[in-house]
C-alpha cells in the first residue's frame, strides 16, 4: 500500500482509477515470465500521456521511489519484475497507433500497442514491420524497444533496434528527450536512439516511437527439414550460411521440443525425429524458389531424412505459430522451465549444440534446445522443479558452464532476452570490468539516484543467479518483500 499523500499526488496526475495499490493488483504486477522472480510493487500507475509519465517520474524522484516500466510482462530476464518495489508504470492506456506516414515509410506509435497489432495494421496497408518476437501476440512495442527484442525473422531482417528511427523518452530528471526522427540518415551527435533501445528501462521511459517500415516481400516459402541426428541439423545451419544464403527464418528444434510443441499444437511435426529445421525464405518468387531449392539440397547433403515444403500459407503459418509456443510448451513436461538465450557466431552453432548436450549429461538435466539457429541464438531450456533444491543447484552450475562456453566460442550471455535481474551477475563475464564501468558511468550520468528500474543489469559481485529460482538471492529478497508488504 502507498503512503496516503503520495497516492493522492499520483491520483492528481492520472486520475483516481489509474492508481491501483490493492493487494490483488500488487500481486498481479509482481512478476513477468521469468521463473523464480516475484516482488510486490507499492502501486501500479497507468499513465495516459508523455506529460503524465513526466509528472510521475518527477514525483517518484521527489519521493525516492523506483519506477519500473512494464508492457505485458512477457519478459524473460526479470526485467519488469519490481525487485526493489516502487511504482510499476503500465502502458495499457497508451496503446494508440498515432500515424502511418506512407511517404516516409514510418509508423508512429505509443508504447502500449501490442506488437502483432502493429504487424497486422501495416500489412493490411501494404507495408511490413519485420521484428516478430515469439510473444508478439501479447508483448508491447514499448517492451520490445526496451529489450531490443529479436524474433524468428531476425536472421534476414535484424531486430527491433534496426526498426526504431526515433523516440520520445522521459528521463530520470523529468526532461522529455526526443531522439532521431523520420530520417534515413542522421548523425547529429551521439546515437541516443540506439542507446535507449535495449536499455531495459534503466535510462529512460519511452513514451512514443517512430518505427521504420519496409515493403512487404512479394512471396515466401516455408520448409521443414527432418533429421536423425542433432549434429546433422546443426551442421546444416552453418552450411546454409556458408553458402551465402540468408533465409528469413532458420529455426532449430530438438526432439524434446518437437514432442511438446506437437503435443500442444497438433501440426504434424515428426515426433520421432532427432531434430528439425524450420526454414522460411521470402522475396521475389524466382529468388525464393531458387534459394529454397538450394537450401533443400544442402539439407539433404547434410543428412536430412526428409525435406518438405508447406503447401499452403495456412500450413506455413501453423508451423511458425507452433514454433512460437515452444518455450511455454516445454512446461508440459516439468513444473519449472528455465530458458537461456546464449548466442554464438553462426558458424559455431553445431559446437554450441554439442556443448549443451554434453553439459546436460554432465549435470543429469533435461535440456530442450530450440531457437533461432540461423542467428546463432539458441534457447537451451532446462526442465526442472523449483522444489528440488539439489537439482536447482545443478541447474545453476549447468547454466554457468553454458555461458562460459558461449563466451569461449565468441558469443554472448544473452542474444535477445536482456540481462535484467536474472543475468546481471554474468554481465561482467561478457563485457569485462571496463564494460561494466562504462555502462555504469552512463547509468549514473542519466539516473544518479538509481530510481529507473533499479536492480537490473548491475549487481554486487556476491549475487548468484541465473534465475534458477536462485536459492541464494532473489527468493530471499522476494520472501522479504512479500512479508514486508
Amino acid at each position: 500500500m502507498l503512503d496516503k499523500a503520495f497516492k493522492e499526488k499520483l491520483m492528481a496526475i492520472v486520475g483516481q482509477d489509474n492508481v491501483l495499490d490493492s493487494k490483488e493488483n500488487q500481486v498481479a504486477f509482481s512478476y513477468d515470465a521469468t521463473p523464480g522472480f516475484q516482488s510486490l510493487p507499492d502501486a501500479v500507475v497507468f499513465p495516459g500521456s508523455t506529460e503524465d509519465v513526466q509528472a510521475i517520474v518527477k514525483l517518484c524522484r521527489e519521493m525516492k521511489t523506483p519506477t519500473v516500466p512494464r508492457g505485458s510482462g512477457t519478459n524473460l530476464s526479470a526485467g519488469t519484475c519490481p525487485v526493489q518495489g516502487g511504482i510499476v508504470l503500465s502502458f495499457q492506456r497508451m496503446d494508440q497507433i498515432l500515424e502511418l506516414d506512407e511517404e516516409n515509410l514510418t509508423l508512429t506509435v505509443q508504447p502500449g500497442v501490442v506488437t502483432q497489432k502493429i504487424c497486422e495494421y501495416v500489412e493490411a496497408r501494404g507495408f511490413f514491420y519485420p521484428p516478430d518476437p515469439s510473444s508478439m501476440k501479447i508483448s508491447t512495442i514499448g517492451g520490445n524497444i526496451m529489450e531490443n527484442s529479436g524474433g524468428l525473422r531476425g536472421l534476414k531482417y535484424g531486430v527491433t533496434r534496426d526498426y526504431v528511427l526515433g523516440l520520445t523518452v522521459v528521463l530520470a530528471n523529468g526532461d522529455i528527450l526526443h531522439t532521431g526522427g523520420k530520417l534515413a540518415k542522421d548523425v547529429a551527435g551521439y546515437d541516443l536512439t540506439r542507446l535507449m533501445v535495449g536499455s531495459e528501462g534503466t535510462l529512460g521511459i519511452v513514451t512514443e516511437a517512430i518505427l521504420k517500415l519496409v515493403p512487404p516481400p512479394p512471396s515466401k516459402m516455408t520448409m521443414l527439414s527432418v533429421y536423425e541426428s542433432m549434429d546433422d541439423a546443426a551442421e546444416t545451419v552453418s552450411a546454409i550460411i556458408a553458402a551465402k544464403i540468408i533465409p528469413a527464418t532458420l529455426e532449430f528444434l530438438d526432439r524434446a521440443t518437437i514432442e511438446v510443441v506437437e503435443d500442444y499444437a497438433h501440426v504434424g511435426l515428426p515426433t520421432e525425429a532427432a531434430a528439425i529445421l524450420l526454414i522460411e525464405q521470402d522475396g521475389d518468387p524466382e529468388v525464393v524458389k531458387r534459394d529454397i531449392q538450394q537450401i533443400a539440397d544442402i539439407c539433404r547433403k547434410h543428412g536430412a531424412r526428409s525435406v518438405q515444403t508447406a503447401q499452403t500459407a495456412e500450413e506455413a503459418q501453423a508451423l511458425l505459430t507452433a514454433r512460437r509456443t515452444a518455450l511455454s510448451a516445454c512446461a508440459r513436461k516439468r513444473p519449472t522451465t528455465i530458458l537461456e538465450d546464449a548466442t554464438v557466431p553462426r558458424s559455431k552453432v553445431a559446437d554450441m549444440v554439442k556443448a549443451i548436450n554434453r553439459i546436460a549429461e554432465k549435470y543429469q538435466l533435461t535440456i530442450c534446445t530450440f531457437g533461432h539457429a540461423g542467428d546463432g541464438n539458441l534457447h537451451p531450456t532446462v526442465l526442472t522443479d523449483v522444489r528440488d533444491q539439489d537439482e536447482m543447484a545443478r541447474v545453476e552450475k549447468a547454466f554457468q558452464e553454458i555461458f562460459a562456453t558461449a563466451i569461449e566460442l565468441g558469443g554472448t550471455i544473452t542474444g535477445e532476452h536482456g540481462v535484467g535481474a536474472m543475468k546481471a551477475p554474468y554481465l561482467k563475464w561478457k563485457i569485462g570490468d571496463s564494460g561494466i564501468r562504462t555502462m555504469q558511468a552512463i547509468k549514473t550520468a542519466l539516473d544518479p539516484d538509481n530510481l529507473l528500474n533499479p536492480g537490473k543489469l548491475f549487481v554486487p559481485d556476491h549475487a548468484n543467479s541465473v534465475g534458477t529460482g536462485n536459492p541464494a538471492s532473489a527468493p530471499t529478497q522476494t520472501a522479504e518483500r512479500m512479508m514486508k508488504k
Binding site: V27, S30, G73, D263, T325, S328, A329, A331, P335
Partner: protein, 473 residues
C-alpha cells in the same frame, strides 16, 4: 450481497486452498502470458489481475501464504466467466478450470454467507436444479406467465421495468415453454430410422419427404443400428428447449442410432461446480454415472456444450474418490457432442442437406470448444448445407457473456461482451447465428434484440437448423 471476510475465515480459506489446489498445476503456469489475448475479462478490462495468469498468481499467492485472502481476490475469481479459452491458448497445458473451481469451492465452504445468499443458493442448488420435477414446475410457471396474458400485461403496463435490463430482455426472448404433459412424457428408448434415402449426389427434390415420415419408405430396424447411444437430456434442454431435444433425437435416429434415455438421469451439476458447490455437484455426478453405466453404450450424446463439458470433467471431479474415480473416468470417456456423433454416423453421406439461400455463422460454445475440443464438427455440418453461405464470425471463440448465470450476476461485463460480439456480427450480417448450447442461444437472442436486429437475423440451436435442412422445409 456478500459480507466482508473475517480473519478466521481468511485463515480457513488459506488452509482450504492448501488442501484443494494442486501445487503442480499452480507451478505449471510459467506466466508466459499466452492466455491474455484469449481471456474475455482481460480483453474487456486490460487488467492483469483479470487475466488467467493474474488469477493463478492470486491463487498461488494465497496457497503459498505470501498474501492473505481478501474480498478483492474473491471478486476477481468471481469475475472469471469460466469459459476456459485460456486452456486452449495455453501451450503449457495448465488446467485453469480445475484450479478455479477448487478455489471457488475453498472460498464458498469457508465463508459465511448472508441469509439471503444462503436462501438463494439453497433454492437453486438443492431444491431446483437437482430435481427435474421442480424444473418442470418452474418452467411451467414461465409458460403460465407467457400464456395467461400476464406477460403482455406486464409489458404493456410497464410493470416489467422493475426488472434489470438483462432480466427484462431475457424474459421476452425465452422460447415458448412446452406444456406440462409434453415435458412429463419423455421417451426412454428410440429405434433408429432408416430411410430409403437418395444419396447426396442425387437431386434435391425428393428428400423433402423425410421429415414428414409419411411418403418416404421408412424402416425401423432396431436390430442393426449404426450405433447404440445414450442421450443426456439436460435439465433446461429437456424443459425450456424441449423442441431442440426432440430435433436432436430425430437427427440421431435418422443417422441410424438406437437411443437410450435413462429416466433417472439428473442435472449435470455444472451450475453447482462453477459456483463452488462441489458437494452438490458430486452427488449429481454419481446419480448420472449410475443412471448411464447400466446401459450398454459407449457413447453418451449431449447437445449442450456447457453440460457436455461438465460431464467430461466428472473424471476430475471424482478423481479422489476411490469408489467412483474409475467409474467416473469411464463415464467421461463416453461423452460426445451431437455434431461429432452425426459425423461419425455418416450423416453427411446419408443425407443431402439444403435450405433456402442465406448467410449463416457459428458462435462457439466456449465449453464445447475449449473443454470438449469440438470446433470443426459443427462448422463442417453447417458448411455441408446447400444454399447457405457460411461466414466465420470474428472472435467466434470468445465468450458471448452468457456463461451459465453469469449474465445475471455480472451484468456490466456480460453486456460489454455481447455488445463487442454484436459489433463483429454486424460486420458479416448473417441471417442465422447458430449456437450449440442453451445459454449461448439465449445470450445471442438477447444481443440481437438489444441491437434491434430482430427483423434481420435469428439465433438457433444447431440441431434445429440441421433438422430443418434435412426436411428442406
Amino acid at each position: 450481497m456478500s459480507r466482508v471476510t473475517t480473519d478466521a475465515e481468511r485463515n480457513a480459506i488459506q488452509q482450504a486452498f492448501r488442501q484443494k489446489l494442486d501445487e503442480d498445476e499452480l507451478l505449471n503456469c510459467m506466466r508466459c502470458g499466452f492466455c491474455l489475448p484469449a481471456c474475455p475479462t482481460y480483453i474487456m478490462t486490460k487488467q492483469e489481475a483479470a487475466s488467467p495468469r493474474g488469477r493463478i498468481a492470486l491463487m498461488k499467492g494465497v496457497y503459498d501464504g505470501t498474501i492473505a485472502y481478501d474480498d478483492d481476490i474473491g471478486r476477481q475469481l468471481d469475475l472469471c466467466l469460466g469459459c476456459r479459452a485460456c486452456e486452449t491458448a495455453c501451450p503449457s497445458g495448465v488446467k485453469y478450470g480445475h484450479l478455479l473451481e477448487n478455489a471457488r469451492s475453498a472460498i464458498n465452504e469457508n465463508k459465511r454467507k448472508t441469509l439471503k445468499e444462503k436462501a438463494i443458493r439453497k433454492l437453486t442448488f438443492k431444491d431446483l436444479f437437482p430435481n427435474q420435477k421442480r424444473m418442470r414446475q418452474v418452467t411451467g410457471l414461465v409458460r403460465l406467465y407467457q400464456k395467461s396474458g400476464l406477460k403482455k400485461l406486464a409489458e404493456a403496463t410497464g410493470a416489467i421495468n422493475i426488472l434489470p435490463e438483462t432480466l427484462r430482455t431475457m424474459q421476452s426472448i425465452l422460447p415458448e415453454i412446452p406444456d406440462a404433459k409434453a415435458m412429463r412424457e419423455r421417451p426412454v428408448h428410440l429405434a433408429p430410422i432408416f430411410v430409403d434415402q437418395p444419396s447426396a449426389a442425387e437431386t434435391a427434390t425428393t428428400h423433402a419427404n423425410i421429415a414428414t415420415n409419411e411418403e418416404a419408405p421408412i424402416n425401423h430396424n432396431a436390430e442393426n443400428p449404426v450405433k447404440r447411444v445414450a442421450f443426456f437430456a439436460g435439465c433446461l434442454m429437456d424443459t425450456m428447449f424441449l423442441k431442440t431435444n426432440e430435433a436432436t433425437l430425430k437427427l440421431l435416429q435418422l443417422s441410424g442410432c438406437e437411443i437410450f434415455i435413462p429416466p433417472d438421469q439428473a442435472c449435470c451439476g455444472a451450475l453447482h461446480g462453477h459456483s463452488g458447490e462441489a458437494a452438490g455437484a458430486r452427488e449429481l455426478a454419481k446419480r448420472n454415472i449410475e443412471a448411464f453405466e447400466k446401459l450398454d453404450c459407449d457413447t453418451i450424446v449431449t447437445n449442450a456444450g456447457g453440460c457436455g463439458a461438465y460431464l467430461i470433467d466428472y473424471a476430475h471431479l471424482l478423481a479422489d474418490d476411490p469408489e467412483w474415480s474409475e467409474r467416473a473416468a469411464r463415464f467421461s470417456s463416453c461423452i460426445k457432442d451431437l455434431s461429432e456423433v452425426l459425423l461419425e454416423c455418416g450423416f453427411l453421406e446419408k443425407y443431402h442437406l439444403s435450405l433456402p439461400n442465406q448467410v449463416v455463422t457459428f458462435q462457439d460454445s466456449c465449453h464445447l470448444r475449449n473443454v470438449m475440443q469440438t470446433a470443426t464438427a459443427p462448422r463442417r455440418l453447417l458448411q455441408a448445407i446447400d444454399g447457405i453461405t457460411y461466414r466465420e464470425l470474428r472472435e467466434a471463440d470468445v465468450c458471448c457473456g452468457s456463461a451459465g448465470i453469469y449474465n445475471l450476476l455480472h451484468e456490466d461485463m456480460a453486456t460489454g461482451l455481447i455488445d463487442r460480439k454484436m459489433g463483429h456480427v454486424k460486420n458479416i450480417m448473417p441471417h442465422v447465428i447458430v449456437t450449440a448450447n442453451p445459454g449461448c442461444l439465449l445470450q445471442m437472442k438477447f444481443g440481437i434484440k438489444r441491437h434491434g436486429l430482430e427483423s434481420k437475423m435469428e439465433a438457433v440451436h444447431i440441431a434445429d437448423l440441421l433438422l430443418k435442412s434435412v426436411s428442406g422445409c
